[in-house]
């Protein structure tokens, strides 16, 4: 059976020279399959929305309907979770959502899934949490640190509460990253293994064909499930981003 982990191997497609990034040293900026997948996802987003919003018709066509549906979904999230101020953060949450969504979906069709790379998901997670910190400090100044000391608690509890709050805040980018990464990795590995069963059992005579048929139907069902997971994980990423942003936007009512 083919190695189910081989699909996650980074491989160079186009060699580019190393670039010195300040603070990080020499970074190899070659186009790898992961970078290509991200570029493709971002390009698909832009092309899709360029077409979807080209006419901006009052009676929308199919493409425009889908584009507005996704926009409405994220708009609903920022509106219902963050509230009236949510509109400001809509572009950020929306960019996260569509990028993760298109990267996930793209991975269902082509050979490489960018969101199954920890480097990618962790960067997205850190991006979210750094944005949250930036928004929190920008909006509340030093009062941002009230986030770790919720009001209305008897003071001896703070000894216990503050470290827990700090820890739970610091762990957010990691959980964001690992949730997306784990879902994508697990799904693609399981698909690969079941698909491998089809080939392996198919070569074992008549009895094997029954097993192969079973494995094949599992692959079909799992593929459907994975499409749902692809959407759901992007949605969860957007929801959590909104929740974390809401924490610092409405720090007073925290």
């Amino acid at each position: 059976m083919a190695d189910p982990m081989h699909q996650f191997q980074i491989a160079k497609i186009l060699d580019l020279p190393k670039v010195a990034v300040p603070g990080l040293g020499q970074i190899d900026l070659s186009i790898t399959n992961s970078v290509a997948a991200m570029l493709l996802a971002a390009t698909l987003v832009i092309v899709f929305y360029a077409f979807a919003s080209a006419k901006a018709a009052v009676v929308p066509g199919r493409l425009q309907t889908v584009g507005e549906m996704l926009y409405g979904l994220v708009n609903g999230l920022t509106d219902s979770i963050i509230g009236h101020d949510g509109k400001k953060y809509l572009p950020f949450v929306f960019t996260l959502f569509v990028f993760v969504l298109f990267a996930n979906i793209q991975g269902m069709f082509l050979v490489f899934t960018a969101t199954s790379q920890i480097a990618v998901t962790l960067t997205l997670g850190l991006l979210v949490i750094l944005t949250v910190v930036a928004v929190g400090v920008g909006k509340n100044g030093l009062k941002f640190f009230k986030l770790f000391a919720p009001s209305g608690v008897p003071w001896p509890l703070y000894i216990l509460l503050v470290p827990i709050e700090i820890l739970s805040f610091l762990i957010r980018p990691i959980t964001l990253a690992l949730r997306l990464f784990g879902n994508m990795l697990g799904g693609h590995v399981v698909l690969k293994i079941f698909a491998g069963f089809v080939v392996a059992l198919g070569g074992m005579g008549v009895l094997g064909w029954a097993g192969a048929a079973l494995a094949l139907s599992s692959v079909v069902a799992l593929t459907a499930l994975e499409f749902m997971v692809a959407f759901l994980q992007a949605f969860v990423f957007a929801v959590l981003t909104c929740v974390y942003l809401n924490d610092v936007v409405h720090l007073d009512s925290h």
Binding site: F8, I10, A42, A52, S53, V58, P60, Q64, F94, V98
Partner: protein, 178 residues
């Protein structure tokens, strides 16, 4: 950090039987390029969406909302107008009906008044005729009664003549009849 991630991952990806040097995702020499590229791509995507495409999408949605609200307001205005017109028409109909009824009542009243005056006039004429007739009857009767006295006088004279053989005088007859 690597081992920590490794532990998390192995539970998710149990069938990693080959174990050929762990997860490809943990080959850190590939991280730098992915991170830098991701940040670049994300920044560009954010800029394009936030400045270019999303305003168009939200603009289309807002335009639609405004158009629908406009159309509904227009329809409501037309409905109100139609209602006002319907009310005016109903009022006109009621007015016309009232006028017609009034005309009918007036005509009836005029007709009955005319009838009454004509009847009164007729009655006056009839009463005059009746009075004249009664007067005539009275006169005729009086005259007849007058003749009765003459007849009685004549008859008495004749009777006296026959019985006595001599004619009674007019004074005797008059005193006998009184």
């Amino acid at each position: 950090m690597a081992t920590e991630h490794h532990g998390t991952v192995e539970t998710t990806a149990a069938p990693e039987a080959h174990g050929g040097g762990g997860l490809p995702q943990l080959q850190f020499e590939h991280w730098g390029g992915q991170i830098v590229w991701l940040l670049l791509i994300f920044a560009v995507l954010y800029a394009v969406l936030a400045k270019g495409l999303l305003p168009r999408v939200s603009g289309a949605i807002e335009t639609r909302g405004a158009k629908i609200a406009d159309d509904i307001a227009g329809a409501r205005r037309l409905k109100d107008e139609a209602e006002v017109q319907a009310r005016a028409a109903a009022a006109e109909v009621a007015e016309a009906r009232a006028k017609a009824q009034k005309t009918a009542v007036d005509a009836k009243a005029a007709a009955s008044a005319e009838a009454a005056t004509r009847q009164a006039k007729e009655e006056v004429v009839l009463a005059e005729k009746l009075a004249a007739a009664e007067a005539r009857i009275q006169a005729t009767r009086d005259e007849a009664m007058g003749h009765v006295r003459d007849v009685a006088k004549d008859t008495a004279a004749a009777i006296v003549q026959k019985l006595t053989g001599k004619a009674a005088t007019a004074a005797e007859l008059k005193s006998a009849l009184a």
